[in-house]
């Protein structure tokens, strides 16, 4: 009954791992050839795969895990999806309903453990509940602000049989996700931005989730307002457009931060305005007279920054409603845009080769040339993530995937695998540091088993680079527990898993290694030995305001 319901919801892939409490489901899996099950090597990998799948193709990712440790291994992956509003359905086995609460073998309170990292969850103790629950779960996961929904199903329910029923019409009184656009507020917001002297728009993940890129583009051009994106909003606005401010936040570009800090009207669309965007909150955008916040989740209004005009609505609907009200621009934009151009000149992204080491940017620039705005790049967490975010002019949505809110190390490889299942037509590149990579490296088996065409770009600096950088600059220069000298020989590791790998030490070797990777159909790993001292710039020192960003040293 569970599997039939999944078929009915249009599920194609399930990322999962069998165990005692979900065996009844697995027993019937072969009867459903339309449901392709991907056997992972660790449940966390399953959650990240489902996450990467959902982010790449827009459909909810589906995960199976057994009770107890199996389900608990999902927690990090659920949190990652929850923080970044990714639709996911996790179906976990639970002990028999009569055994619940008796500390049975592999029993754990999965609902309790996951309540704070799921949009909603269900414990199913009777077969009658199942059709409704599964139908509701998909609805809740994919509508409004998307998120993971967990369904914990007792083993006896999995074994029970019942009449085949089509789920009743959805009736969830506590869930009304689609707020309509308040047209009065939309007009106010549009007029406020149009009449601003120094307007700035920031776009977040919500713009991508609601496919509002075109509406954002039209609105921004009509209002002649510069647009920056959050880390997760990358792709919402083309970086090479003259109005682009590239990425914002505490590792954002200098010209973006200058613009935000000097803006008089700031419109924030589809974003949470979290601490990584604001840096020191008290000094965030201090010259703004009118904050405008557009988000589908009303609780985001005033959670961190109190807006003067709020629009609780889907980003696309809101932008569509605002555009006609921009009207003729009262104040000329010439001076403001010229000022931003000057800041762009004054604070470019830069890096140096002063110490003779291979620089991460060398690798990424070569990789991105091959991506040609077509391939999907999945980054891990840490320096590799920010380099991958900053060193390419993403000009369209859906090409950059990373764990923004949760910042989950080990995300990239399984998420890249999921992304490849979701978009088999796309080349997929996985960018990771050696620290995060070894956290979920066991999923290489999945890439090999399914001969997935994924190119793994390891930016190996033999240390936890971001932590090392923070220790150097913000924690008294004490390097503590960041040394990663004792990691595997990645070429041998690749070989052990059954995929080809090459090691690259110099700039000259980058191109040929990338050529070899591209020529190979199937997974390929390149261990790039990069400058162990390479840092992420710009960066706002911890606890400081966006005004205080540091830039890359010239030498």
């Amino acid at each position: 009954m569970i599997l039939e319901a999944l078929e009915r919801e249009g599920v194609e892939y399930i990322f999962g791992y069998p165990g005692g409490a979900n065996l009844p489901i697995y027993q019937h899996l072969p009867e459903h050839p339309k449901l392709k099950h991907i056997l992972v090597r660790h449940e966390q990998g399953a959650a990240h795969m489902a996450d990467g799948y959902a982010r790449a193709c827009g459909k909810p990712g589906v995960v199976f895990a057994t009770s107890g440790p199996g389900a608990l291994n999902l927690v990090t992956g659920l949190c990652t999806a929850y923080m970044d509003s990714v639709p996911m359905i996790a179906i976990t086995g639970q002990v028999n309903s009569t055994a619940v609460g008796r500390d049975a073998f592999q029993e754990s309170d999965v609902i309790g453990a996951t309540s704070s990292v799921t949009k909603h969850s269900y414990l199913v103790t009777s077969i009658d509940q199942l059709p409704r629950v599964i139908h509701e779960a998909f609805h809740i996961a994919t509508t409004g602000r998307p998120g993971p929904v967990l369904i914990d199903i007792c083993k006896d329910v999995q074994q029970a049989s019942a009449e085949r029923v089509t789920p009743e019409r959805l009736d969830i009184p506590g869930y009304q996700p689609n707020g309509h656009v308040d047209l009065g507020h939309a007009r106010l917001a549009a007029r406020a931005l149009a009449s601003a002297e120094r307007p700035v728009i920031l776009a977040g993940h919500g713009v991508l989730l609601s496919h509002a890129e075109e509406e954002l583009f039209k609105f921004a051009e009509k209002a002649a307002a510069p647009v920056g994106t959050t880390l997760l909003g990358i792709g919402a606005f083309p970086v090479n457009h003259p109005l682009s401010l590239h990425m914002t936040g505490f590792m954002g570009t200098g010209w973006n931060l200058k613009a935000v800090q000097n803006a008089d009207v700031l419109m924030m669309v589809g974003m949470r305005v979290d601490d990584r965007v604001t840096a020191r909150l008290a000094d965030f955008a201090p010259n703004v007279k009118t904050f405008i916040h557009v988000d589908i989740d009303g609780s985001e209004m005033g959670k961190n920054v109190r807006p003067h005009i709020e629009l609780v609505a889907d980003a696309r609907n809101a932008l569509e409603a605002m555009t006609p009200h921009v009207g003729e621009l009262e104040a000329g934009r010439g001076r403001w845009l010229a000022q931003i151009d000057a800041w762009r000149e004054e604070h470019p992204l830069k890096y140096t080769h002063s110490n003779g080491h291979l620089q991460p940017q060398d690798v990424l620039i070569d990789m991105y040339k091959r991506c040609r705005s077509e391939a999907i790049v999945v980054a891990d967490v840490g320096q590799n993530q920010i380099w991958a975010a900053l060193w390419w002019n993403y000009d369209r949505p859906g090409l950059f995937i990373n764990s923004g809110g949760a910042g989950t190390m080990g995300f990239a490889l399984p998420a890249a695998i999921g992304a490849k299942f979701g978009r088999p037509d796309k080349a997929v590149w996985c960018v990771a540091g050696e620290g995060g990579f070894v956290m979920t490296a066991q999923e290489l088996s999945v890439a090999v088993e399914h001969n997935l065409d994924i190119k793994i770009v390891l930016l190996n600096n033999f240390s936890l680079g971001m932590v090392r950088q923070f220790q150097d600059d913000f924690y008294g220069g004490v390097r503590s527990q960041v040394d990663m000298t004792h990691i595997p020989d990645f070429v041998k590791l690749a070989d052990a898993y059954g995929l080809p790998g090459i090691r690259v030490d110099t700039l000259e070797q980058v191109g040929p290694a990338m050529d070899a990777a591209e020529k190979t159909k199937g997974p390929f790993l390149i261990d790039f030995r990069i400058d162990p001292e390479a840092n992420v710039y710009p960066i706002v020192p911890l606890g400081k305001s966006l005004n205080d960003f540091w830039e890359a040293p010239d030498k």
Partner: protein, 171 residues
């Protein structure tokens, strides 16, 4: 989670503290996870529960909660907004302020057998025995507080006090 007779606000608390406290009337779906979802949310967001009363509502399968919550460092309206995000929560009404009926219940056992003073205040005698008298009283929070002060003079043996149950006054 039920409030004990001693109010938690100390005189040293700045007035801003009181402004952070909201009284919310919340209609919820009955379910094994509802109470833990609500209490978990309140904890996770850095809010604090001052009192909570739950009972069946008029509608089958739904309960009415009256929550008194301190928003902590968050904007006070965040409490309502975050509760509304829960699928288990059907409706949240902010009933903070004057224009409401607010009632708390106290049941107390006192040593004295002579409780006329308490009865005059509106208390009802539930039981009278050799070892003491059990009375109940309901009223606004302040009246309940005064009543408990009065109890002290009768030799209190035990007190149980509910959180407030609140309903908006209708014209």
């Amino acid at each position: 989670m039920i409030e004990t007779p001693q109010p938690k606000t100390s005189p040293a608390t700045p007035p801003a503290h009181a402004e952070r406290v909201r009284v919310l009337s919340v209609l919820v779906e009955d379910g094994s996870n509802t109470l833990s979802k609500i209490s978990g949310l309140i904890r996770r967001r850095g809010f604090h529960v001052r009192s909570i009363s739950v009972g069946p509502s008029r509608q089958v399968g739904r309960s009415r909660m009256t929550l008194t919550v301190d928003a902590g460092h968050a904007e006070t309206d965040q409490v309502r907004k975050q509760l509304e995000r829960l699928v288990e929560v059907i409706e949240v009404e902010d009933v903070t302020g004057e224009n409401v009926h607010s009632r708390e219940l106290v049941v107390a056992k006192v040593k004295a057998s002579e409780v006329d003073g308490l009865v005059e205040r509106g208390a009802k005698v539930l039981n009278s025995a050799a070892d003491g008298t059990t009375v109940e009283f309901s009223g606004e929070g302040k009246d309940v507080g005064d009543f408990i002060d009065e109890l002290m003079r009768h030799g209190v043996l035990d007190v149980a006090r509910s959180g407030p149950v609140v309903m908006r006054r209708t014209a």
